[in-house]
């Protein structure tokens, strides 16, 4: 096949110390950007665009793509270590990664995350190289009805995020959905619930909400509950997961990689939705679903593989159609233009297309990420070992930097604070907070596409288009399955509740 020859050409472009050094630097920067809450992959790539201006186009692009590839993994590190998702998609890693850290096994979670992320990333790259064209065509057939059905399917994950009381999980989701309606209505220009505050015109920024609900909420709760246990909570072991433990969850990793890549292809869906759906599916196929949310290694792996897989997926529409598949790829488009390149299929034309250099660089970047990830884990574990009373104020400062840097606005900082209080109040009364995030992510997707579909056609469109119909049926199943299961095995649940107490 011709493609292998061109890939070989691509590898040849990268021979020499300079490109390799650039990739390594990109990966380190990417992990760093990911680790810092508030600097999303898109922000990280954007911040390096002016820096790349002095480089030649290929080198500039491999730098930016390396940053993008590694940033999604980097976010999972802080999620696991300190319950602070470094990137939006890493929020799913907090569900099981942080409980593992609290059990004293952060090494296991961090190790599983780096392995799953590498596998997911490499899988996404392979799909990007070989299946771009048909996938991009499929992505274009996604109309408003399909997006709406996807959002509804996503919302039904609520029922599997509940830790016992599903009423509370739904209330939490609805809080997120309602908060999501604040801001200018995109269809009429009407300002909803903004109370004449100009900063609210765009609604609440997502990243400060995330940092507040998880990082700050957790800190407030921990201080309240655990302060009598001074200093170190538990013995922290730096042990990495055993090979067998990873082998046991190979199916979860594979499945999540596929889901992450495919959902990443759909423009506008993105890594966060991919991670949620992969987590949900991992829980469904798991032999021990009751462990989820309490430190299941499959949960950590599902999130890592899906977020990294979405990188390759998001590059599919960028390279084949010139349409960004995610916020970070939108920035890449700007970078391409800055370097005088045309995003889209033009990149494949010419004698030695630059695209194959990018493909080859992604393999190197993920390999480097794997090694840096393992080396770095020891460092993160050292940080986790720091006494909580030192760590918590530092996390608050990081939360400040993270929410401020989103738009250099104190308003975002205060809304982060507000979400922190909300998260704390909810958590101390056993309301789960992940559904709030689910509502915040999916509310807009659901509403705008619902209304757009109705502007374009009548309501029957949701049931006459095959993808939409299938997704809606899946949604109905996934909504009622856990609830019914709970009802039918009342005995089991009671026993389980007792165990918790």
């Amino acid at each position: 096949m011709d493609i292998f020859g061109q890939l070989l050409d691509g590898i040849k472009m990268l021979v020499g110390w300079e490109p390799i050094l650039i990739i390594l630097a990109g990966v380190v920067m990417g992990i760093l950007v990911g680790v810092l809450p508030g600097l999303s992959p898109a922000m990280g790539v954007a911040l390096l665009v002016p820096f790349s201006y002095g480089l030649e186009p290929l080198y500039a692009l491999i730098l930016l793509v390396s940053v993008y590839s590694a940033a999604n993994y980097g976010g999972t590190i802080t999620a696991i270590a300190i319950n602070t998702p470094g990137t939006p998609s890493a929020i799913v890693s907090t569900f099981d990664g942080y409980p593992l850290t609290q059990k004293g096994e952060p090494g296991k979670a961090l190790g599983a995350s780096v392995i799953a992320s590498t596998v997911g990333g490499l899988f996404g790259t392979i799909v990007l190289i070989f299946f771009s064209v048909p996938l991009a065509k499929a992505a274009l057939s996604f109309g408003p009805a399909e997006y709406f059905a996807l959002a509804i399917f996503g919302l039904t994950i609520t029922s599997s995020l509940s830790t016992g009381n599903w009423l509370k999980a739904f209330i939490a989701t609805l809080i997120g959905l309602l908060l999501n309606t604040v801001g200018m209505d995109p269809f009429t220009g009407y300002f909803r619930f903004t109370f004449d505050i100009p900063e609210l015109a765009d609604g609440f920024s997502f990243i400060p909400a995330l940092i507040g609900l998880f990082a700050l909420g957790e800190i407030f709760l921990q201080i309240e509950n655990n302060l009598e246990i001074k200093g170190h909570l538990k013995k922290i072991s730096g042990k990495m997961p055993k090979f067998k433990e990873i082998w046991n969850i190979k199916r979860t990793i594979a499945q999540s990689s596929v889901l992450g890549t495919l959902i990443g292809v759909v423009p506008g869906a993105g890594a966060t939705i991919a991670a949620f759906i992969a987590y949900n599916e991992a829980k469904r196929i798991s032999k021990h679903p009751e462990q989820f949310g309490k430190g299941a290694l499959d949960g950590v792996a599902a999130s890592g593989a899906a977020t990294s897989g979405s990188v390759g997926g998001a590059l599919v529409p960028l390279l084949t159609l010139g349409i960004p598949g995610s916020a970070a790829t939108a920035v890449l488009i700007g970078a391409l233009v800055l370097h005088g390149l045309t995003p889209g299929p033009e990149l494949f034309k010419g004698d030695s297309p630059i695209v194959y250099g990018i493909f080859a660089s992604m393999f190197i970047a993920y390999t480097a990420m794997f090694f840096f990830g393992f080396l770095g884990n020891q460092l993160w574990i050292k940080i986790i070992k720091a006494p909580k009373s030192v760590l918590y104020p530092a996390i608050i400062s990081i939360a400040f930097i993270g929410s401020y840097s989103v738009g250099n606005s104190m308003f975002d900082v205060w809304s982060c604070f507000g979400f922190g209080l909300l998260g704390w109040i909810l958590r101390r009364n056993d309301f789960p907070t992940p559904p709030v995030i689910l509502g915040l992510i999916l509310g807009f997707l659901a509403e705008t596409n619902f209304r757009r579909a109705l502007l374009m056609d009548n309501a029957s469109i949701f049931f006459t288009r095959p993808i939409s119909l299938i997704l809606l049926i899946l949604a109905a199943l996934s909504l009622f399955y856990p609830i019914l299961k709970l009802k039918f095995s009342k005995k089991g649940t009671n026993k389980y509740n007792k165990e918790e107490k």
Binding site: F142, G143, F220, V331, G334, P393, S405, N429
Partner: protein, 502 residues
């Protein structure tokens, strides 16, 4: 490129002349600039205008000795950025990167900011509006669009960004002048709408020539420029087709009104030089727009003319409210439900304390919230644009569901109360930390990030009963150093510097 070097030499010479003039003529202002200049950008890093501004800061190194920084102040479709600039002194050190969309923003938001608050010193990019079609469908030319629109009787779909934006207003203008009717289908961003056009979900996309580059299935049907574009010689203009429609999206720079004329001239000249720099021209051409330079006089005229036009079409579209129905007075303010909640909570605590636990309180608060939200949606204007589902529908749906779920939870809890074992909670520590945080964030504006953090970190650690002073000092110092090098130096993310110190 000898010409280029000669040019640079001349530019340097001119710059020196300017400096000389500034020095001799104005002792009061000293030499401008004598500290870094900041360009405030209203969108996120990586957006088109952000990349352009960062390139300008890069090119400006050739023409000025002071650095130009780019700072992103996002929010409110530009209001936050505008407020930032207006909040600074009118000394030319803070420049606002502007685009035509600011006109709509000023008209639609009620911040009271108008075009008169700024001096519009340099317009740098002119990007003609265009109608874009999918060339694998039957609709390829303006005539095809008109024919199809008439056949579909107002059901033809035009795709583009959000309602009230430039492209939407342009579409309304086109419908108006051509005499057709069509339906505007708004998307979150231009690229989402482009994807929809590529997926044949609509007939026309309203955008700019750059939108088709690299996308072989898309073509320009007609452009709204005065003449045919150099890069697209085969694409007709509206004028040729007999319709007097000319519309460009401009980008440029503005400063706060009241800036001394000498500084204004200096900046205008600086932008003029950048506007003819080959690197800049290349960049603008690459993005299929036209590099131009309009100085203050011409730019201001353009802005005034465009505002008039925007006001007219915003009213036509039913987006700009006339004074009569914009009054939202008589609405119950948000503190009323809060007080109501507190009263009921206090009463319950007094009468039946076992009911006033956290879960019931949240459920009850949510019931009040959902009722209040529903009440607020009653005041929403439906508008001409909403079609069958207006702005109130979805929030109402969520509010009703929230009400039902919360009521169910409350009912369940009151009917069969669970017994709580008393949790041993140390709430004083949490409240103290929250108070500390409040001071930390409040102080940031005055004393800046580094000093505030230098106080907060040790204070927070001490508050949590940690007493190893060496560790506290080292942690604080290490954190400050790390955040300075990583955040500010390597990643160049600005942190608050504090208003007391500059």
């Amino acid at each position: 490129m000898p010409g280029f070097f000669r040019y640079r030499y001349l530019a340097k010479l001119k710059l020196q002349l300017v400096f000389l003039l500034l020095f001799t003529a104005s002792a009061a202002y000293g030499g401008f600039p004598e500290k870094p200049i900041t360009i405030v950008v209203h969108s996120k890093p990586g957006s088109g205008i952000d990349i352009a501004s960062r390139l300008i800061s890069h090119i400006a190194k050739k023409y000025t000795d002071e650095i130009i920084l780019v700072e992103n102040k996002t929010g409110g479709s530009g209001t936050v950025a505008m407020k930032t600039v207006l909040g600074k002194r009118a000394d030319g050190y803070t420049i606002l990167a502007v685009t035509k969309s600011f006109i709509s923003t000023m008209l639609l938001s009620n911040t009271g900011i108008t075009i008169g608050n700024f001096d519009w010193i340099a317009m740098m990019v002119s990007d003609p509006e265009a109608l874009i079609i999918n060339n694998t469908t039957k609709i390829k030319t303006l005539e095809d669009i008109i024919k199809d629109a008439k056949a579909k009787k107002g059901e033809q779909k035009w795709l583009g960004p959000l309602v009230g934006g430039l492209d939407h207003l342009f579409a309304i203008q086109v419908w108006d002048k051509i005499g057709i009717k069509a339906r505007w289908i708004p998307y979150e961003g231009g690229s989402d709408a482009i994807a929809a056009l590529m997926g044949k979900q609509g007939a026309v996309y309203v955008g700019n020539p750059a939108d088709i580059s690299g996308r072989s299935t898309l073509s320009l049907a007609v452009v709204a420029s005065a003449e045919r574009l150099k890069n697209f010689p085969n694409v007709p203009t509206f004028k040729e087709k007999g319709y007097p429609i000319e519309e460009v999206l401009w980008r440029g720079f503005a400063i706060k009104k009241g800036t001394p004329p000498k500084i204004k001239n200096y900046l205008e000249n600086l932008f003029k030089k950048i506007a003819s720099d080959p690197d800049w021209i290349n960049f603008v051409n690459n993005s299929s727009a036209l590099p131009v330079f309009y100085g203050e006089k011409r730019f201001t005229e353009t802005v005034i003319r465009d505002q008039k036009k925007a006001r007219y079409y915003l009213k036509k579209a039913g987006i700009l409210k006339t004074k009569a129905n914009s009054g939202k007075s008589g609405q119950i303010p948000p503190y009323v439900p809060v007080i109501l909640f507190l009263i009921v909570y206090a009463a319950t605590k007094k009468i039946k304390p076992q009911l006033a636990d956290g879960e019931n309180s949240i459920a009850f608060a949510m019931i009040i919230l959902s009722v209040y939200v529903y009440y607020l949606t009653l005041g929403f204007e439906v508008g001409k644009l909403s079609g069958s589902v207006g702005p109130a529908t979805v929030p109402r749906l969520w509010a009703i569901l929230l009400f039902l779920f919360s009521a169910a939870l409350l009912y369940k809890k009151i009917k069969s109360p669970e017994k709580h074992e008393k949790r041993n909670r140390n709430s004083i520590k949490t409240f103290g930390l929250i108070l500390l945080m409040t001071f930390y964030f409040l102080g940031m504006d005055y004393i800046g990030f580094y000093i505030a953090t230098g106080i907060f970190l040790p204070a927070g650690i001490l508050w949590m009963n940690y007493r190893n002073y060496i560790v506290i000092t080292l942690t604080t110092a290490g954190f400050l150093l790390l955040s300075y090098y990583v955040i500010q130096i390597i990643l160049q993310v600005p942190l608050p510097s504090g208003s007391l110190f500059y």
